[in-house]
Symmetry: D2
Subunit: 344 residues, 4 copies
Amino acid sequence: MIVVMEPNATQAAVDATVKRVESLGLKANVIVGTERTVVAAIGNKREHFKESLESGEGVSAVVPIVAPYKMASREVRAEPSQIKVLDFAAGAGEVGFIAGPCSVESEEQILETARAVKAAGGTGLRGGAFKPRTSPYSFQGLKEEGLKMLATAREETGLCVVTEVMGTSDVDLVAKYADVLQVGARNMQNYRLLEAVGKAQKPVLLKRGPSATMDEFLLAAEYILNEGNDQVMLCERGIRTFEGHTRFTLPLASVSYLHRKTHLPVIIDPSHGTGHTYMVPDMAVAAVAAGADGVIMEVHPDPSTAMSDGYQTLTFAEFERTMRRCKAVANTLQELDREEKASS
Amino acid sequence: MIVVMEPNATQAAVDATVKRVESLGLKANVIVGTERTVVAAIGNKREHFKESLESGEGVSAVVPIVAPYKMASREVRAEPSQIKVLDFAAGAGEVGFIAGPCSVESEEQILETARAVKAAGGTGLRGGAFKPRTSPYSFQGLKEEGLKMLATAREETGLCVVTEVMGTSDVDLVAKYADVLQVGARNMQNYRLLEAVGKAQKPVLLKRGPSATMDEFLLAAEYILNEGNDQVMLCERGIRTFEGHTRFTLPLASVSYLHRKTHLPVIIDPSHGTGHTYMVPDMAVAAVAAGADGVIMEVHPDPSTAMSDGYQTLTFAEFERTMRRCKAVANTLQELDREEKASS
Amino acid sequence: MIVVMEPNATQAAVDATVKRVESLGLKANVIVGTERTVVAAIGNKREHFKESLESGEGVSAVVPIVAPYKMASREVRAEPSQIKVLDFAAGAGEVGFIAGPCSVESEEQILETARAVKAAGGTGLRGGAFKPRTSPYSFQGLKEEGLKMLATAREETGLCVVTEVMGTSDVDLVAKYADVLQVGARNMQNYRLLEAVGKAQKPVLLKRGPSATMDEFLLAAEYILNEGNDQVMLCERGIRTFEGHTRFTLPLASVSYLHRKTHLPVIIDPSHGTGHTYMVPDMAVAAVAAGADGVIMEVHPDPSTAMSDGYQTLTFAEFERTMRRCKAVANTLQELDREEKASS
Amino acid sequence: MIVVMEPNATQAAVDATVKRVESLGLKANVIVGTERTVVAAIGNKREHFKESLESGEGVSAVVPIVAPYKMASREVRAEPSQIKVLDFAAGAGEVGFIAGPCSVESEEQILETARAVKAAGGTGLRGGAFKPRTSPYSFQGLKEEGLKMLATAREETGLCVVTEVMGTSDVDLVAKYADVLQVGARNMQNYRLLEAVGKAQKPVLLKRGPSATMDEFLLAAEYILNEGNDQVMLCERGIRTFEGHTRFTLPLASVSYLHRKTHLPVIIDPSHGTGHTYMVPDMAVAAVAAGADGVIMEVHPDPSTAMSDGYQTLTFAEFERTMRRCKAVANTLQELDREEKASS
């Protein structure tokens, strides 16, 4: 860490900072500049000292140099991780495609959708049985009944089932039926829930909160990893900005950033990330082009009658076309990668 | 609701929209404009139909006219609510001042602070026993031991104890010691937790999530009210924006907005809302001037050694001065209000 | 426009609103709802009445239904426009690639870069001669000397020259040497400058301001179109959000949105849109996959010694590889488009 | 500056960085940490080297330690500046109140308003003669005719006239009639205009751009100061965020921040900063409580018929009440300041 002192900080304040740094088990290196003094704190400790130093007398700012997360970092594990469940694979060269309705509504609806997803080349089936809804007056999901329908769809199609768990007390129940536990964006910093899914023996799809920084996102993953579960996928689903023509702003550069910082696979959600059906196909293809390890999309037999999220849901025909384009772009880029490797 | 059709929507699409509106139990009123058609859906139903209409063929946008929350609204209860616990009162003309450390660290620390808060005119004591921390490697709080220390401080000073509850399984324990249950910003949309504190018989301080819209904030309160607990205080603690010189951006206009839309008291948190000690005093006074029903501040015997949040924490002397200024401004404005009433 | 009255608006207020709507030459259609009244204002007039109605007694909100811009809209011109200068073409199926250094630094630097851009398949050359710099103490560009160097590079390579014009008094000078006049993000709402380039007989590359809404962006284009210049390209270069790991957040969904609303070509700038060299290649490819009509990138013989923007600039080798990938993806998608057309 | 190297940066990269730092006339101090190396660059140079270093091989980040602006900084001038024109004074203990319509509409309108502003205790008169409008189809102002009306109002009331200048070619004309030249938010980074008003011999009210960082805002002021004009007032008028219930988000903590970093007076604009008439009075009072050196508000004889901005404009009665409250709070706080000084 670099502790930047105020221009008018006294020698006593500098001395106190040095003492504080040393009391934290770090080595202090004082650099006297022309306008202010800087204290470099050296050692292999992580973020949690930052704020202790920040409140010191005469301290202007503390600049961390080391990422605050460990197990999620590339420094701890240099090679990309891959999550593999049934035929679904994401990371380390594999692109996984998950699709399905926002809410499980009936057995017929989920079975019909699962078949369409499978036929178009998807390997994961999404569908909410427990629904976190902004309003207490909205449809809250079919609960266990919905989970059973998802399991039935897996039986028939072999698709890996991805579904949300909303609270600690539901983890066991959801884990009984699902292959991947989804932690929703609203719960990204629900630490009790992160700990609970960290203890479950199932892969986790962790959605980014709409105002989470990357450090916060990776530290949320770290909560799960820290409990012994290293099967975590990071899902970028858009951030909250001033833009009003999309529901959220989908920053595809998150893929590049996360690939540089972490070994965990990165999944893009163009449905929530845009909030409009007509934008989903192009953003799905763009996600693949940006190097995403997976894409998760909302699909429904008849979006205009969907119980939730219909405005951002694809029909089967739109989904099929989108998959064709995504796969063609993925193939094209992989071909170029192979050529590059061959010629180098 | 107003359903705006696309300029090129077919008559069939308009007809389908009308049918859909009617199937929801609303009356449809079709207005044919020069460039497009609009369908007004009339009836006293709330938000959850919006999205069903939005996904219809040829629909450009659906504009809600009625707020999606009920029990929190001024339309249901016109008079401002007041929360009163021991000597603490907020709302309907009363301004409550809550202060204390970020984390409860020791009995001595919390007792000393409670005395200073009381002496300066505060009526509530804050202090975290269960701490939601961004990093799993940070100090997580003293837990029940901390709750006991808070209760001890209440015994001695008479201050009302406000402390955070992080998960559903902690609600009973925290409620045993605390007077007000705080739901933190990270948990604003943790619906399981909202339901649980809604069932508790204690007032709730609900913090706004840093990217929550006002409708989302009020709907989170609605989850609590909907469980039968009408003792809810709304706490504005800053939103996430592009600004880097403050940790969060504190929008004081939230007070005016919330007072217009809801009867619930509005508390301002200038400590988290700025993230810098030197900004807290002026923003606390500004909060009172803006009409807030309460202010919550971080105070510590020695902020430079605080285990958390030291960089945004006041010393006892700074707090005492801030309280003096807040109270003087509150008095001045109340005096003017009385004069206005008298002369009208 | 839809004028939504307050729930408690008086009949007098509704009558006044109707009178006001009619005085603006629009037809008023009153809809009495269960909770409030709505006045639909019908007619083919544009946005400038919105605010007159908004300030009326008892008015809660005014919801515009028609886009505020005309000449930029798809409703006025349904077919996509194409901008064609020398070998450069963007829009209506053509993807244009513009590249070059942030600043023109020397004849050797710009010539060397132009050759590399040409060799890799680019058709436009960018390079700043007049530089808008955040600090008055930063390098401000070579001015006319830089323009001459750009013209020399065009002579040799045939690339179309794109360069920024910062003020009204520079328009003639820049237009003398450049093929495309760039209006920078900081000047997107500098209306005097928009009028001036609207009078010039040259295509314009209009960059989106980092906090401009889409309506503001399209209305800025409308200023140019309104002066008789219909050769406008819209450039998305990222918006300001809370994200700190990129300089700006690049929302590729802007392509889908703009293609739906306007016939003008959309160019993506992944260099400014991310602010980091390592992110540029993947985001350039993603831009093409998202359907952009062009990409503009920063390239320099030696980014590590560039006078500006080196941190987001590609080397020749990186650029060559990026172009190969962009073109491969463009070809793959065009091939699929042709197949779709053939089979339909 | 602190140059943070990548964890895997080679010794050659560190050596190159050191060489680069030295070539910029700075002293390099290498600190070898446990995970990475850091190079402290010491010397009294400002920001414009940051980006040259950032693009170096193996460089992870460059952290500036010194503010990029000079003449605006407290380090160059420790005492607060005061702007004084006629009876208007802002800064160094004085709070200036500027009010008037968005647009000058007629001599009667501006005279009537000026009298009301004067009567309520205002010292400055605002009113737009040249109007920067989002749409080219909106009312663009009365131009010179409007300027003459403002001058007439000054003759009668003695109020100082504040009005916007939109382009370099209008500076002389506006300066002929106005006392203070306003640079609007859209033009905050129109450097040609900043240079032009920097050369004029009139005070400048510089509005913050809605997505400008504080460094960008202060560097815009630096452009003016750098031309020899040190009469600059900084106006916070709200930033663009995700919030939809206000037009902009007004961060009053800007006052605390700017007072710490610069000697220039800080003016708050609660009209644009909220966009809703009903919010203006409380935010004006809050601005004074937060320590602002001035407040600028929109007032009109009949806001419901105003040609622009009526939805955020006060009536004379509302303005009079707001002024009474602002002045009472200012007096209360000044009284406390005097007591504090006396007792210390």
